[in-house]
């Protein structure tokens, strides 16, 4: 099953709509609730990141019988040092991101803790792509 969502820059009100929709789908498919939580927490953090740091992007989700694959690809400034961005507590978030309850440098580490596979690729001045996979069993 393939789903796609558009992420709009600065649209914090709609941050999480993709995650909400994926949550509903996985519930209907009777996926283990603990696994659903890991999937949607990671996707939600990725959505917030794309809205907070980039100029919009796309969320693609592929659900198989045994796993879910999520790709959040944004057009944006990119990440010059991915290892640094993965470090808990490191953040370049603007004040309005912090006002929404995010921007404490926990997003990428939170994603890593919740998924089975995480791959972040980025080109400065072009954008960032976050690929995540979670196994259902």
């Amino acid at each position: 099953m393939h789903q796609e969502y558009t992420v709009v820059e600065g649209d914090f009100v709609n941050a999480g709509t993709a995650s909400s929709s994926v949550k509903k789908t996985l519930k209907q498919l009777n996926v283990n609730p603990q696994v659903i939580k890991r999937v949607v927490v990671a996707l939600y953090e990725a959505e917030v990141n794309a809205i907070a740091h980039a100029y919009g992007g796309k969320v693609s989700v592929d659900i198989d019988s045994d796993k879910i694959r999520m790709v959040v690809a944004d057009k944006g400034p990119g990440i010059p040092d991915i290892a640094l961005a993965m470090k808990e507590g490191y953040s370049t978030a603007r004040p309005e991101v912090r006002d929404m309850g995010f921007g404490a440098g926990m997003g990428l580490p939170n994603m890593q803790k919740n998924v089975d596979k995480l791959n972040v690729t980025s080109e400065v001045g072009v954008g960032t792509t976050v690929e995540m996979e979670v196994n259902f069993v």
């Binding site: 914090f12 009100v13 941050a15 999480g16 995650s19 909400s20 949550k23 609730p33 939580k37 949607v40 927490v41 939600y44 953090e45 917030v48 006002d99 929404m100 309850g101 995010f102 404490a104 926990m106 997003g107 939170n110 803790k113």
Partner: protein, 113 residues
Amino acid sequence: MTLRDIVKSLDATVYLGENQLDREVEKAFASDLMSDVLTLKETPILVTGLCNIQTIRTCDMATLDEVIFVRNKKPSDDMLELAEENDMVVLGCQYSMFKTCGLLYQLGLKPLY
């Protein structure tokens, strides 16, 4: 204890879930940082001063069913609509985060860590 005990102790306003106040609650977590809430493995009642749509979304993702807004922060209609979809109970009180946590601790709610 039940949510009803919490409402009484905090002199709280029930914004949503009046008919669900018999739900049992054992633990609480207080934070304005939603990324912190997203790290929780358990599902405590959330005490927060952050009153926007992302608070409700975070509860949805983290499967938290109860939230208390402190310092008289009032949830918007959009927030309550989303909370209702997720079967949440939404409370509010006039006290500071510190006093709210103190009262809840005294009442017997347990911390996560």
